[in-house]
């Protein structure tokens, strides 16, 4: 309870602030509306309610966003083009595919790097440099470019997600696979263990905590990659497309709803990786 109470307090404060901000930010437009309708001296409580019920508010009130999410997921057929569940699914599948590829690539590169001096020296600087490149910015172009050669749908988006998520995995795994201390490596040497045995019995288990820490980061940015990649292909669907069409049509409520769904997805994905981590930890006897 002592951990939940502060969080709830802050959340409540944010909520109150949000409603207040909604009144304040939507007030100018509401005043215009009321003037047009010839309404004068509207009492504050009903004025506030008016600002919380606009069609295209500058800042929608939380309950409007929640209502939109409900309508756009539960209220519609899953296959409907307006269903957020449908678009969320498109984004989710690209995210998961990219994440799986990215993790595999990251682990593979890390294994190559720790076993071979030359690949360490030639790859590592470029892997780090590759992340200072705002690759997300090229995402639309990669999608269009791959589309030009007939590669459309999930794969181009997944490639962007992969590019983003492999990096934390490489860096984390290189650190993790190198984490065994000298004394533990010496021990394996006194057993005349093969490098295969050193890898599976020492390096790999020692790297597990690092792997999960990187995977949590990786899956979150994998989702970001998928959303941004969707911005370029309005026909393909996905949460990114909902953001884009919402911004073209001034549908703020739709934007916020898509944003909330994306946030929810990110939270669920990170939580899933987190619970996988706990399962592995328990099996590896990590102190609770």
């Amino acid at each position: 309870m002592t951990r939940i109470l502060p969080v709830l307090t802050i959340l409540l404060a944010i909520l109150v602030f949000w409603y207040a901000a909604a009144v304040w930010m939507n007030a100018p437009w509401q005043n215009t509306l009321n003037n047009r309708a010839g309404l004068e001296n509207v009492p504050f409580t009903s004025f506030a309610q008016q600002t919380w019920a606009q069609d295209k508010p500058v800042l929608p009130a939380p309950h409007q966003v929640v209502g939109e999410i409900w309508n756009a997921t539960m209220g519609l057929e899953f296959t409907s083009r307006r269903s957020l569940a449908y678009h969320g699914w498109i984004t989710l599948s690209a995210t998961l595919m990219g994440f799986a590829f990215g993790t595999a690539l990251g682990v593979g590169l890390a294994v190559a790097i720790i076993h071979n001096d030359a690949s360490d020296r030639s790859l590592m600087p470029w892997i780090i440099a590759s992340q200072t490149i705002p690759i997300l910015a090229v995402a639309p172009m990669v999608v269009v470019g791959l589309g030009a050669v007939g590669l459309t749908g999930l794969v181009p988006k997944a490639l962007i997600s992969m590019y983003l998520s492999f990096f934390p995995v490489v860096v984390g795994m290189v650190k993790g696979l190198r984490s065994p201390e000298n004394i533990q490596l010496d021990l394996m040497r006194t057993y005349d263990a093969s490098s295969w045995q050193v890898f599976w019995k020492l390096r790999w288990p020692a790297a597990m905590p690092f792997l999960f820490a990187s995977m949590k980061v990786g899956i979150a940015i994998s989702l970001i990659g998928a959303v941004v990649a969707e911005l370029s292909n309005a026909a393909g669907g996905g949460l990114g497309v909902r953001l884009l069409t919402g911004s073209y049509n001034g549908q703020t409520i739709q934007i916020w709803a898509a944003l909330f769904i994306a946030a929810g997805l990110a939270a669920v994905l990170v939580a899933i990786v987190g619970s996988a981590e706990r399962v592995v930890n328990r099996r590896m006897g990590v102190r609770a």
Binding site: D186, R189, T190, Y191, A193, K201, P205, G285, V286, R287
Partner: protein, 262 residues
Amino acid sequence: MTAVVSAEHLGLTFPTGDGDIVALSDVNLTIEKGDFVSFIGPSGCGKTTFLRTIADLEQPTSGTLTINGMSAEQAREARAYGYVFQAPALYPWRTIEKNVALPLEIMGYSQAQQAERIARTLELVNLSGFEKKYPWQLSGGMQQRASIARALAFDADLLLMDEPFGALDEIVRDHLNSELLKLWDRTQKTICFVTHSIPEAVYLSTKIVVMSPRPGRVTDIIESSLPRERPLDIRETPEFLEIAARVRDGLRAGHSYDGDLV
């Protein structure tokens, strides 16, 4: 008697950025089967380096070294020794029994053999009943006992111990020392033991090798006249104190205190 370890004119030099460091210089030593040999000396005297050289963890730059008549590398490949490090170095993700099983898995023992050996060696170090515990659930002394069990689990007749009890408090250390003596007596292993404690060296050993630094070398080899059977209170006997005094003299002779001031 056959020589388990035999070193002749052994030297080891580490090249570093500011000149070479002579870690070992002209070390001559023979260790017989069943010996309990302690290496004692101040830090930097090469006692750990010598142990690591026997284990093929360091390569000598001059002289010859044979273990059971083989080169150090061949001896390592033949799994001729068990090594106990300063720290327990148990794998935190393995239970105690799985930690003891580690070398057995690597050396390809069958499941049945593994189970039998785990039970036997844990019994030997008085850790029966702790098989399913994880290392962090045990005290420091118990962890170090588990690491000794791990070194005993396979059939190596030579046990190399590098200050295994250095990080433990004195009471636990006394207890483990007497346990180690009993174990040595029961198993008839040859033990090389690095320490910087004079009472520990005298209490445990049949042979005490006194070393001194800059360059690391052997300054004295003292054969102990104490009986194999040693209760803890043997440490108050005049005989014990006499040997201890000899070791202390040896350490003093080999150690130039002036050098430390530079």
